[in-house]
Each structure stands twice: as C-alpha cells, then as structure tokens.
C-alpha cells in the first residue's frame, strides 16, 4: 500500500511500511506532540486556579485572608470542612440533590428523546412547525411569575415535582439530540429495519438508542448537572426545608458566615467573616466533588467506534 500516497503525506524519512500496519508518519507524530503540548498548557492554565481553591480550603482562615496561600495549604486546618460537613442540613441536601439528579435525568432524557427523535425524521410531517414552536419558547419566556402561577395551579408547589417537571426539557438539548439522530445514524439502518418489518418505536428502541450512547451520555450529564446546580427554582418553589437541594444548604451556610450575628457581637462577627473566606472554597470542593467523580463514567461513552459493525455492507 502507501505507494498510492501523494507527496503531502510521505515524509522523507518514513520507513517502508509493513504490509498490514500503517505506521504513524513522522509528520503525524510531530503533530501529536504539538497537540499534547497544547493540551498540557491548557491543563496547567485550568489546573492552577483549581489547586489554589483546594489548597485554600485546607488552610486556616487567617492565612487565606492574608493572601498567603498559593498552591499548598498554609497552616493546615480542617475547620472549614468541619463547619460544612457537620451541618445537619447538609446530608439532607445531598440526599435531595441525588434524588433530583437521578429522577430528573431519567425524566428529562426520556422526554428529550421522545421529541428529538421524531423531529429528526425527515418525513415526519410538522417537524418544522414543531421545531419553530420549540425555538419560540427558547427565545420568549413567560417569566418567573406566570410560570409560578401555572405550577401553583397544578398543585406542584412545595413538592419534588416542582423541580423535576417545569424544567424537564431543554430546547438546546432537544436540538443537540435531534442533530445527533439526524446525522449520526445512517438511514441504511432505517431502511433495513423497515424491510425487516420493525415498527418505528421498535427501531428507536433497538437500533437507534444503542447507537446513541454518546448522545445519551451527554444528555444525562447535562441534565444531571443542571439538577445538581439547581438553586433559584428550588428557592422559589419549595417552602419545606426538608426538600431543599444541596446548593441551597451550601449557599445558606456561606451567607450565614458572611453576615454574622449583627453588630452587637462584633467579635464573633469578625471570626465568622474570616471563616467565610475559607468556607467558600471548601464548599466548592464539597459540592462539585460528586459531579466530577461521575464524569469518568460518562466519558467512557465518548470512545470512538460506537458505530462499528452498525452498517454491514
């Protein structure tokens, strides 16, 4: 092989290729090195501030407010974590957020696929109208109060449903999904399935979805993170503190420490003000750790070769 190549590809010092394997040409290896360097630079740029955050979270309050922390904890102290993790509401918050994240993701991904897949079929009559309808809702919104009224009338206030349903489908996600379905699933498969006598839903379930693992992974990730970060909606729709998700508990903690007890107890106010500086870093770690940990599981689905063997001949 390879003698077919044009001059662009072959580098002067390329070894004669073995019969089967295509050796990585020198040019490509250089390219890889360049890419790796760039990625390393990017990694450093992003990593350094993150290290600062983690290091600060393990430092003493006075060290942080004196600006002495750079990339390693100064005056190692677990005070901030102690403050955060011993809060009785925290566990409840974690638990609630887990529920919202899992249930919400399931509901959202299901509904998103339910509307994105039909939209991706070219012969689905009304898809343009439907799409327009969806995009319209992305641009124009009723606003907080009218939406609140609807939720109130449906009796969802102060229930978990208020966080799971009103934001169940994101138009952005629908469009991403639709684009994926339309472009990454070859129509040959559809034809083949129809010939075999499959129904639309069967095709969706048995052929499309298994091939859409990257998409489903992305959707799941986006919705899970969305639920995990929920703050404002939870605040507005929930009254019972037992239903509060994590972010509310964490933000509450932070504000409490920033504000202090009022000017009658100045000494305590000051101690708390300093703690607030460290606390906010500890809270970032506490709240984002779970989301970071699920990432590898999701990223597994981004490997190439999802489509191998899909189209046979």
């Amino acid at each position: 092989m390879s003698t077919l190549t044009t001059s662009e590809v072959s580098a002067p010092r390329r070894k004669p290729a073995a019969a089967k394997k295509v050796r990585e040409p020198f040019r490509d290896r250089v390219f890889l090195v360049v890419v790796t360097i760039m990625l390393t630079v990017l990694l450093a740029l992003v990593l350094l501030p993150l290290i600062y955050i983690v290091a600060s979270s393990f430092s003493s309050a006075s060290a942080v407010s004196a600006g002495r922390v750079t990339f390693w904890p100064v005056e190692f102290s677990l005070r901030a974590y102690e403050e955060a993790l011993t809060n009785p509401q925290l566990l409840r918050g974690y638990y609630n957020s887990l529920i919202y994240a899992t249930a919400g993701t399931l509901i959202s991904v299901t509904l998103t696929v339910a509307i994105a897949y039909p939209l991706s079929r070219k012969t689905f009559f009304g898809r343009n109208v439907l799409m327009t309808g969806l995009i319209f809702t992305m641009l124009f919104s009723g606003g907080v109060i009218p939406t609140y009224l609807v939720i109130q009338d449906l009796g969802m206030l102060n229930t978990r449903w208020a966080l799971l349903i009103p934001n169940a489908i994101g138009v952005w996600q629908v469009i991403i999904a639709r684009t994926f379905f339309a472009n990454s699933i070859p129509d040959d498969l559809y034809e083949a399935a129809m010939i075999d006598g499959a129904s639309e839903l069967r095709y969706l379930w048995s052929v499309v979805l298994p091939l859409s693992k990257p998409l489903l992974a992305v959707l799941a990730l986006m919705y899970a993170i969305f639920q995990w970060n929920t703050y404002f909606d939870a605040l507005i729709y929930l009254k019972d503190p037992d239903l509060y998700p994590l972010q509310i508990v964490l933000r509450n903690m932070l504000i409490l420490n920033q504000r202090g007890v009022g000017a009658t107890d100045a000494a305590q106010l000051l101690e708390q003000q300093q703690l607030a500086n460290v606390l906010k870093y500890a809270l970032i770690v506490v709240s984002s750790l779970p989301v970071l940990l699920i990432y590898p599981f999701i990223a597994r689905h981004f490997t190439k070769g999802v489509m191998v063997g899909a189209v046979k001949g």
Binding site: L119, S141, G142, F180, V218, H301, T303, V306
Partner: protein, 358 residues
C-alpha cells in the same frame, strides 16, 4: 461505502422514493386506529413516477400513517411545552400592563407601551445596548472555537491517564460559582498583589490596572468565561466526534491522509452540524446574558463599558420594585434575540447548508 472525504450523514431529502414507500405500506402490520377515510391518493403507489407536487394533506396523511407511533410519542413532550411554556407566555401580558396583584394578569389596567417608552427614551439606552451587544457578541465568538479545538485535540491523543485528566480538569471550572470566579479574577489581576502584575514585573513592565481600565473589561469578562466553560462545552463535541463512523477514519488512513488532513476532512465535517447549531443558538441567546458576572466586575472606573442592560435593570429594580419594567426589557431582549437567530441561521444555511431547522 461512502468515500471518507465526503461529508458524513447526508440524509436524503423529503419524500422517500416510491420503492421504499411501497415496501413499507405493504408490510405495515396494523393500520392506525384513527384513520377512517382512505388517503386521497391510494397507498398502492406501485408506479415509479414520483409525484412532484403532492398535496400537503397527502403528505401529512402519509407521515401519519408511517409515523403514527412517533406522533403519539410526541404528545407528552408537546404537552409539557404547552403547559409550562406557552401558557405562562400567554399570561405574560404584564409587559403591557400595570400589574395589579389582586386583579391578576387579566384584570390589571391596560397601560399600553408606557414601559417600553420609558426604556427607549432613557438617555443611557444607546450605551447600554451597545455595551450589551458588543460584550455578548465577543463572548459568543470567543467561546466558539476553543471547545472544538479541545475536543479535537483530545480525540487525537490516545486514551490513557493524560487524556482522562485533561478531560476532567478542564471540565471542573464549570462548577465554581460566578461569585468565586470573579473574586479570584479580581485577586489575580490586582495591581499590587495579583500574580499577573507580578509576572509583568518580572518582565520589567510596570503594573497595569486591569480592573480600572474600561477597555480591559470585556477581555476580562470573556476570557474568564471561556476558562470556565470551555471544558464543559467540549463534551458535546466529543460526543459528536464519537458518533463519527470510525470506518471513515480507517479509509482516510488507507488513503494516506495525515492526521491534520483527517481532522480537516473527517472530524470537522462530522461535527459541523453540531457546531453550527451551537453557534446559531449562541447568537440567538445573546441578549439573555446574565447580570451577575458583569455586576460583580463593575466599578465606577470601568462603568462606561461594563454597564449592560441586565445590570442596569437590576439596579433600577433595587430602587423600585416594578415587575412591569423588567418584563418589558425581557421582551425587548427576546425580540432582538429572535432577529439575530433568524439572521445567523440564514447565513449558516447559506454558507454551510446546515441550519437550526435541519
């Protein structure tokens, strides 16, 4: 096997050929329950002559017969949109009214366009619009290429701890709250204790007051935002890249394409639809830029460029708790967004053949 150098995923357009239709019609197990009347054109389209002008009704009927399960599937999501999006919109006539709580949305006095007049005749309106526009546009443009480059770069290197580390680390900043990001940014750029100025000092350059110079505001805003979101945005592109048929890559390799060429001819076209969508959506949501970050980065020295519509509305809203004004501004933003969206979509469709409506 399609040639690797052709763009992938080229779906066939509009009505499928007669053969396919015939085959399916003959084999459909159960006729849909709702149809009582036979379609205008009979289902037995055995002749090969394609009708160029099918009536829309026929098309609709055809689609229904073929995809009736999908129509059913779509009911629940559509209901969701009607209930949670369209009904609130219809309630949101507040923008045109002087809102009165007891009378509710339908009863409040009709005040007409008062809120809009107040907004447009504001002497600072022009500056606000300009600042918002430039900032948002800059943000969309700057945040566009980097996630793509990151995804492609990650796609090239071999799986291993390095790849996973880069993925995880770059995606982490997304979870840091805006408040903390801004406070860290201010610390880093501080004239005296910030490391950026320390670095400049090493190079012999006197300290720059980044935060006090209005011209720097946009750069600070945008690049700290890119720092925060690039890794997360790259995830979508990585999924798209994973959806590209690896046989295309194999074929390209066999043809002797270098990595760079493979990227140019396989990867990029493969994620092009996604990229176009993201760009169009980004521009179409421009005016919805949040107020918090700009508000935190503002000070009286850079206010000339850092005062944007949402921060302004927030400030006036603090003094005067008036929903109607905020809603009117929101409506204005939405209209501008719509125009931008249509324009960019049109341009994208022209240039790349792909648009939001597929």
């Amino acid at each position: 096997m399609r040639s690797p150098l052709r763009t992938t995923g080229q779906p066939d357009d509009a009505p499928p050929g007669p053969q396919a239709g015939t085959a399916m019609d003959g084999q459909r197990p159960n006729p849909p329950a709702g149809t009582t009347e036979p379609p205008a054109r009979s289902g037995g389209r055995r002749n090969a002559t394609p009708y160029r002008r099918r009536s829309r009704w026929a098309e609709a009927q055809r689609s229904w017969r073929r995809h009736w399960q999908l129509y059913l599937l779509v009911i629940v999501p559509v209901a969701y949109f009607v209930i949670f999006k369209y009904i609130p919109i219809s309630n949101a006539v507040i923008a045109f009214k002087d809102y009165n709580v007891i009378q509710g949305p339908w009863g409040s006095d009709w005040v007409g366009f008062k809120n809009f007049e107040l907004f447009f005749s504001n002497p600072v309106f022009g500056t606000l619009l300009k600042n918002t526009f430039i900032l948002a546009f800059y943000l969309v443009l700057a945040s566009f290429p980097i996630p793509i480059l990151l995804a492609i770069g990650l796609n090239e290197i071999r799986d291993g701890w390095f790849k996973r580390t880069v993925q995880m680390v770059t995606y982490a900043p997304y979870f840091i709250s805006t408040v903390v990001v801004v406070s860290m940014t201010i610390l880093v750029l501080s004239p005296r204790i910030g490391i950026v100025n320390d670095g400049l000092g090493v190079l012999g350059i006197p300290p720059v007051d980044f935060l006090g110079d209005p011209d720097y505001f946009r750069h600070i805003y945008v690049w700290s935002d890119v720092w925060q979101t690039a890794g997360y945005s790259a995830v979508i592109y990585m999924a798209a890249l994973a959806g590209i048929d690896p046989a295309l890559h194999e074929a390209a390799k066999i043809d002797g394409a270098s990595r760079l060429q493979r990227i140019r001819n396989v990867d990029l076209p493969g994620i092009m639809p996604t990229a176009v969508i993201i760009l169009v959506l980004g521009v179409g949501n421009m005016m919805a830029i949040g107020f918090e970050k700009a508000y935190l980065l503002q000070n009286f020295l850079n206010l000339g460029q850092s005062e944007i519509i949402p921060t302004y509305v927030y400030k006036t809203g603090l003094i005067n708790a008036d929903f109607s004004m905020a809603t009117a501004v929101g409506l204005f933003n939405s209209v501008v967004n719509l125009c931008l969206l249509l324009f960019v979509n049109f341009a994208a469709k022209r240039i790349t053949g792909k648009g939001l409506w597929g």
